[in-house]
C-alpha cells in the first residue's frame, strides 16, 4: 500500500513507522526537517520537507497514487485542505484528516472526509477511565458517501445519527 502522511509529530511519526514496519510504502511530509528526528533510524520510508497543503509538494510525495492519505498536523484547517487537495485534485483513494474542533469534524465528515477528533476521543477516554458516562460522541467519523449533485442539498443520515443507529448485522 502507498501511504502518505502529512505532519511528522508524535502521532505522524508513530503511524509512519507502524506502516513502514508492516512493509508498506510510506512518505511523510513536514515543514520542518527537525521533525524527522522523531523517526527512528530503521525507518525505510521517504521524508519530504514541504507544505502539505501545496499541490506540488503532495504530487512529489506521490499522493496521486496514495491508497491512504492521513493529515495529522497541528492545524485543523491545514489538515482539511491537505485532504481535499489529495482527494479532489490528486485522486487519493482514502483520506483522513485530524480535526480537533468537534463541530468542524462532524461537518467535514458530511462533506466526504473521514475525520479523527482528538477532543472527543480524549474526553470520552478520560470520562471512561474515571468511571463516568462517556459523551458517546464519535471520535472517528467515516465520511457520508459523497453524492455530488450540483445545487442539491446534502441529504442522508448525519454521521452522528448513523453511528448511533448502527446495530449488529442482521444476517
Amino acid at each position: 500500500m502507498k501511504v502518505v502522511i502529512v505532519g511528522c509529530g508524535r502521532v505522524g511519526a508513530a503511524l509512519a513507522e507502524a506502516f513502514d514496519g508492516l512493509g508498506h510504502n510510506v512518505t511523510i511530509i513536514d515543514t520542518s526537517t527537525r521533525a524527522f528526528d522523531r523517526l527512528s533510524d530503521s525507518f525505510s520510508g521517504e521524508a519530504i520537507r514541504g507544505d502539505g497543503t501545496d499541490e506540488d509538494v503532495l504530487r512529489r510525495a506521490g499522493a496521486e497514487d496514495a491508497d491512504v492519505f492521513v493529515a495529522l498536523t497541528e492545524g485543523d484547517n491545514r489538515n482539511i485542505m491537505a485532504t481535499q487537495v489529495a482527494m479532489e485534485n490528486l485522486g487519493a483513494k482514502q483520506a483522513i484528516a485530524k480535526i480537533n474542533d468537534p463541530v468542524r469534524a462532524a461537518a467535514y465528515a458530511e462533506l466526504g472526509i473521514a475525520t479523527v477528533c482528538r477532543t472527543t476521543m480524549l474526553t470520552d477516554a478520560l470520562l471512561g477511565f474515571l468511571g463516568l458516562k462517556p459523551t458517546g460522541m464519535p471520535s472517528v467519523i467515516a465520511p457520508v458517501p459523497h453524492v455530488h449533485e450540483e445545487g442539491a442539498p446534502m441529504l442522508g443520515a448525519s454521521p452522528l445519527s448513523r453511528a448511533a443507529g448502527r446495530s449488529p448485522a442482521e444476517g
Partner: protein
C-alpha cells in the same frame, strides 16, 4: 446587507471600514485579541475576538443570518474552511475567499466558494502585460561563447514575408531552422518567414542586439540603465 468578515489584517480592516461607511451591517472576526481590540477602538463594538474557523464562534457571530461571508485571512486553508463552514453548515448564500496561492483557485471553486479573489494572480497578470512576449529566448549555451536563440515572429516583425537571405544577419550568426505549427524544418534560402514562426539561430552572444533588430524589430532594451 449583513456581511461577516473573517480576518482582521489590512484587507479585513479596510473592507470592514468601507462596508460600514456604505451603510452595511458588518461583523468582523479576528482571533488575535490585541488586534481585535485595536480595531474595536476604532470601528466600534463590531469585532468578535475569536477564531472564525471554529464552528462555535462562527455561530455566535451570527453566521447563520449572514448574507455574505468574506474570508480574507492570510492563510488559504483558513479561508477555504471558513467559506465551506459558512456555506454548508450555516447556509450562507454567498461566500467570498481571498486566495494567496494561485494553484488553490480551482480547489476553492470546486469546493463551492462563490467568489475567489487572488491578489497574487492579479499582480501576476499585471506584470505579464508589461513583459514583451516577443523577446528573444535563450534556449541554451554552447562552447566558444555561442548561444542557441529562438525568436518568435510577431505580426510587426520586419522579417515577416521575407526570406533569410534578405535579412541582414550579423556575421558569426546563422539561422538554421524554423518551427511552424509545431513542425521544425531547416531554413532554406527560399523559405518565406511568416507571423508566428519560431526562428532558431546559433550565434555569438554579442550578435544578439543585431539579431533582435532583424527578427523582432524593436531595439533591444538595455538590462540596466
Amino acid at each position: 446587507m449583513f456581511v461577516l468578515v473573517v480576518g482582521g489584517g489590512k484587507v479585513g480592516y479596510y473592507l470592514t471600514k468601507e462596508l460600514i461607511e456604505s451603510g452595511h451591517e458588518v461583523v468582523l472576526m479576528e482571533k488575535d485579541r490585541e488586534r481585535a481590540s485595536q480595531i474595536a477602538d476604532e470601528l466600534g463594538s463590531i469585532v468578535v475576538p475569536h477564531d472564525g474557523c471554529e464552528g462555535k464562534y462562527l455561530g455566535e457571530a451570527g453566521c447563520s443570518r449572514a448574507d455574505i461571508v468574506a474570508a480574507v485571512t492570510g492563510d488559504d486553508e483558513d479561508n477555504l474552511v471558513i467559506c465551506q463552514m459558512a456555506n454548508h453548515h450555516f447556509d450562507v448564500p454567498r461566500t467570498i475567499a481571498r486566495v494567496n496561492n494561485p494553484k488553490n483557485e480551482s480547489l476553492f471553486r470546486h469546493m463551492g466558494v462563490d467568489e475567489i479573489i487572488s491578489p497574487t494572480r492579479m499582480i501576476l497578470g499585471s506584470i505579464e502585460q508589461d513583459i514583451p512576449v516577443h523577446e528573444l529566448l535563450h534556449l541554451g549555451a554552447l562552447a566558444d561563447d555561442l548561444e542557441i536563440i529562438e525568436a518568435h515572429l510577431q505580426p510587426d516583425s520586419p522579417a515577416v514575408g521575407r526570406a533569410p537571405a534578405d535579412l541582414a544577419i550579423p556575421d558569426g550568426c546563422s539561422l538554421f531552422a524554423v518551427v511552424r505549427n509545431g513542425i521544425a524544418t531547416p531554413l532554406r534560402p527560399d523559405t518565406v518567414l511568416a507571423e508566428g514562426d519560431k526562428v532558431i539561430a546559433i550565434g555569438r552572444a554579442d550578435c544578439e542586439r543585431l539579431l533582435h533588430e532583424q527578427l523582432i524589430g524593436t531595439p533591444m532594451e538595455d538590462e540596466a540603465s
